[in-house]
Subunit: 325 residues, 2 copies
């Protein structure tokens, strides 16, 4: 895959070599054991260079204009002298064949922007696997000198929660009109949002968008804010006409100022949660991969499904098979 040692790759990556970054991401996305070892060494040596970015999560249903917004927002902040990386968490990309960010023509100007780096969602059968690789890619991008990282996701299952768990601030894009457009948005997602953006506030929709802002500002009062230092806000914008995009960046800066040390505390908690979630995932994978376990899974699942065996008893049996290997 790469002729460089993890140390050499780390050095070139820190020097801002985009090809080294791309190679490093391919390495951490690889499932081959020898690559996993190299990837671990690479990440470990890069850790001191990580943590220096603003980590933003972005979600919104298809058609809300996420890529138009990310392109406008990305170009705006690069003009401010920032370097932006755009990642994605899309567990469906494996099935749908190609990530939501796979087609770079979606963000033509941004993908050609020398200070922007766009990476499609890693493929993966489990959200946990996709999340792990995106988390690690985020660290690699930070080590590569990108000081703003956007992690995009579509509303599939728990992906928003996963993205909120790896970012500092969560942005939710909505369409003007509220009501019916809420179809498909899980209410639980509203709670994650530090900033709700009502996009397509242009043309005839402008007035409706303003009313939607008022409606959601009210609605947010019913939700517990995630931080005592920050009351979630709602803003209208038109990514298409580049109106209100600069305001979003101002709000992001305001958010950072208001949260202060809380951001570091959040990151520490996120890291420990990640450690234990990762440990549980890998342990379970290891158990599922165990030969003597594999022989029995189907039978035990059937007995449990048919109500012949209590799940707790079946679990105990699986673990005993696993440990007696």
């Amino acid at each position: 895959m790469t002729r460089y040692s993890p140390e050499q790759l780390a050095e070139r990556l820190r020097d801002g070599d985009r090809r080294a970054l791309a190679q490093a991401i391919t390495l951490i996305e690889s499932t081959r054991p020898e690559h996993r070892v190299k990837a671990a060494q690479l990440l470990e040596s890069l850790m001191p260079s990580t943590g220096n970015s603003v980590r933003l999560g972005i979600s919104g249903v298809p058609g809300v204009g996420k890529s138009t917004f990310i392109e406008a927002f990305g170009n705006h902040i690069t003009q401010q002298g920032h370097r932006v990386a755009v990642l994605a968490v899309d567990p469906t990309s494996a099935l749908s064949g190609g990530s939501i960010l796979g087609d770079k023509t979606r963000m033509e100007t941004l993908s050609r922007n020398p200070n922007a780096f766009i990476r499609p969602s890693p493929a993966g059968k489990t959200l946990g696997g996709v999340t792990r690789r995106t988390r690690e890619t985020l660290l690699l991008c930070e080590a590569g000198g990108f000081d703003v990282v956007l992690v995009e996701t579509v509303g599939v299952g728990q992906s928003e929660t996963a993205v909120a768990e790896m970012t500092d601030m969560f942005l939710l894009l909505l369409l003007p009109g509220g009501g019916d457009e809420l179809q498909g948005i899980k209410r639980g997602i509203m709670e994650l949002a530090d900033l709700i953006l009502v996009n397509k506030a242009d043309g005839d929709s402008k007035v409706i968008a303003e009313r939607t802002v008022t409606d959601y500002t009210m609605a947010l009062h019913f939700l517990h804010s995630r931080s005592k230092n920050w009351q979630p806000r709602v803003q209208a914008l038109s990514a298409l006409n580049n109106q209100g995009v600069a305001d979003v960046w101002e709000t992001v800066n305001d958010f950072q100022a208001k949260l202060g040390d809380e951001i570091q505390h959040r990151r520490s908690a996120q890291a420990v949660n990640w450690l234990w979630a990762e440990t549980a995932d890998r342990l379970l994978d290891d158990l599922k991969g165990d030969a003597s376990v594999r022989k029995r899974v189907a039978g035990l699942e059937r007995d449990v499904t048919e109500g012949k065996l209590p799940p707790t008893v079946a679990a105990e049996q699986l673990i005993n098979h696993y440990k007696s290997r």
Copy 2:
């Protein structure tokens, strides 16, 4: 704890002996290894006698009148010839000292009702532990001939989701007025509800309650129904005046009729999810209990918190220590 063998206990429990049921629950709640073995044998021999109840989850913020409703509802269905068991999932009961159902005077008449069985929430440090024991108690109650099982929970963390995962139908109690009363109710919970009950529809609140019913009926249109065979409903009632309580039981029967086989499919899926969640929990507990792991956890968590070590690498190290024991 009990002088009976698991087989004897199972037989007496199936015969409807309440003391045997209580002993069996104490047994499955015990953490002592020899009790765990007996409990597993007991559950296994009882499995063929389980699955014959209507499993109802009930949630609502403190003050909404949950116990008043459960008492009125329980007494109503026992009059219809049913036998009802009332369980609880309250992870805070360990801290708050005493479960939300600990004080039986909360349900005076129901607790004296020969066809009702009330069991406080098991204590426990983790939701997973509390949930496991309540799931198993539910099975024991079914084997004991209770054909309606109510599992109550307060809105703490993920407890509603846990209860929805062990029941057929989820009831959410709300107060008249909607709006501000929603404070404290996580929006995600709305999605779990198959039936929303606006309680305290009496006196001056009656009119407000009716409006609340309309509001929530509208609100539910924005949410995806959990079943294509059932559109969640909203009903007003006064548990205090025993008005609308019979209607709730009718809706429950309608729900069962409409879902039909889907209920069994849900239960099968729940059982398999439980199997794997249980396996993951026990594996992680086993790892955390491992001596060579315990020696290193604190250091690894610190390195991860301080950003010196990637969580994935720390997880790998923990697992290697665990497996090399």
